[in-house]
């Protein structure tokens, strides 16, 4: 994959909303919860239905939804191409070992689910899905998981990814400057120690801002 050769993290990192494609189609307007439920149902249905015919049917439906959602191809293909190749290899292998019916069924089912998953991912904003999640997990506050703390953790998580990515690049440069860039410990140990130091400084900052006082 040539796109990986530019560096460990393609700058800019696709970001918190990286896989969402804005749009106004029916699929976009469906509530996130409904799409989640639909995807779960599709997963169960594919498991229950047997035979190549229903699998191909599922694939046709999935591609239909993809077309209705008008997700541009270049976005979907980035995720779909490797899976398509995998499905083809798998289909050929299963045809050779168990007959063409199984080959077609397994390959078509895999592709159908991956296409549906891609559509849900591309048509639903992450924050909408996280909101659904917050609603679903609200009962957990009785066991000590406060929704506000969870939301803070999500934000902090997203904020910390670029910080750590940058820090791993710094550590790599430092190791190279000392001629140690072939020793995995010289790369990972300083990165991990810096990470924990960063986490503790962040914890202090959260406490200082009174954000953990609720």
């Amino acid at each position: 994959m040539t796109r990986r050769e530019r560096g460990p993290l393609r700058p800019p990192w696709a970001g918190p909303l990286g896989l969402y494609h804005p749009g106004t189609t029916v699929v976009h307007r469906l509530p996130a919860g409904a799409k989640l439920a639909g995807l779960a149902l599709a997963g169960v249905a594919v498991l229950l239905l047997d035979g190549p015919r229903s699998a191909v049917g599922a694939l046709v439906v999935a591609v239909g939804v993809l077309l209705v959602a008008r997700v541009p191809l270049h976005r979907t293909t980035r995720g779909l191409l490797p899976v398509t190749v995998l499905a083809l290899v798998l289909g050929l292998y299963q045809t050779w070992s168990r007959g063409w019916e199984v080959g077609v069924e397994v390959a078509a089912e895999l592709l159908a689910l991956v296409v549906l998953g891609t559509v849900v991912t591309a048509t639903t904003r992450s924050d909408a899905l996280l909101d659904v999640l917050a609603r679903v997990t609200r009962p957990l506050r009785h066991v000590g998981l406060h929704p506000e703390t969870a939301a803070l953790a999500v934000g902090l998580f997203l904020r910390t990814i670029p910080v750590l990515a940058q820090s791993s690049l710094d550590v790599r440069a430092a190791a190279r400057a000392r001629g140690l860039d072939r020793d995995p410990r010289a790369l990972v140990v300083p990165a991990a120690v810096r990470m924990v130091a960063h986490a503790r400084a962040t914890g202090d900052a959260l406490a200082a801002r009174g954000l953990a006082d609720d």
Binding site: L17, L19, L113, L156, P184
Partner: protein, 212 residues
């Protein structure tokens, strides 16, 4: 945990504690949130770093290294929470999984078993590490390596094989043959994770006190 601060005090340092008032440790919800979020981000960075593609469609990445390290360093509860946070945000569509993917689509891929086993792996690694840390010297290192390997072979590999069987329609034997490819890398990652965990404990000894 049994390693409450008082237990570490020998008679000498108990005498020293009489000279100096004992430290007051601030309750650390904030630090826990920060550690959990930061380790979740570390797992994401490990996953986003380029992996080695394999024919089964499950690339070899540093992800499991991050998962095991979270368990070893943070303990079972915070370790599992860190991995859960990572999984949930990834499933919601943020591209934090291997190869820069994200979203519910990963549940439909052959790697689903491995992914869903991660929180359990961190928890098991954390539990076993709690015992390993009672040892000293080289034994401690080996026991930490064992904790990581134990977590990975009790959770990640069995779940991964089940996922492969379900998604690829292959037999146990075939799925096992795919899974074996990851074993050497796993061993190396666990050797490294134990070394890194020990280095982190040397740099921040109080993490040993607050493990839970």
């Amino acid at each position: 945990m049994t390693d409450a601060p008082e237990k570490h005090l020998s008679t000498d340092s108990a005498a020293a504690a009489a000279v100096h008032p004992a430290p007051v440790v601030r309750s650390s919800v904030a630090t826990d949130v920060a550690l959990v979020s930061t380790f979740a981000a570390f797992i994401a960075v490990c996953a986003i770093l380029p992996g080695i593609p394999t024919p089964s469609g499950v690339p070899i990445t540093l992800q499991t290294f991050g998962v095991v390290l979270a368990g070893l360093v943070l303990g079972w509860r915070r370790g599992a929470l860190a991995v859960l946070l990572y999984l949930v945000v990834g499933l919601a569509g943020v591209p934090v999984f291997a190869d820069g993917t994200g979203g519910l689509v990963v549940l439909t891929k052959p790697s689903v078993g491995y992914l869903l086993a991660f929180p359990f792996a961190a928890a098991v690694a954390g539990l076993l590490a709690g015992r390993a840390l009672r040892l000293t010297g080289a034994l401690r290192y080996l026991a930490l390596v064992g904790a990581g390997l134990g977590a990975s072979f009790l959770t990640i590999h069995p779940a991964g094989i089940v996922g492969l069987m379900a998604r690829l329609g292959v037999s146990f034997g075939e799925a096992f043959a795919i899974d074996v490819v990851y074993w050497p890398g796993d061993l190396v990652k666990n050797l490294l994770a134990a070394a890194v965990a020990l280095a982190v404990f040397r740099a921040f000894p109080d993490l040993l006190r607050s493990r839970r």
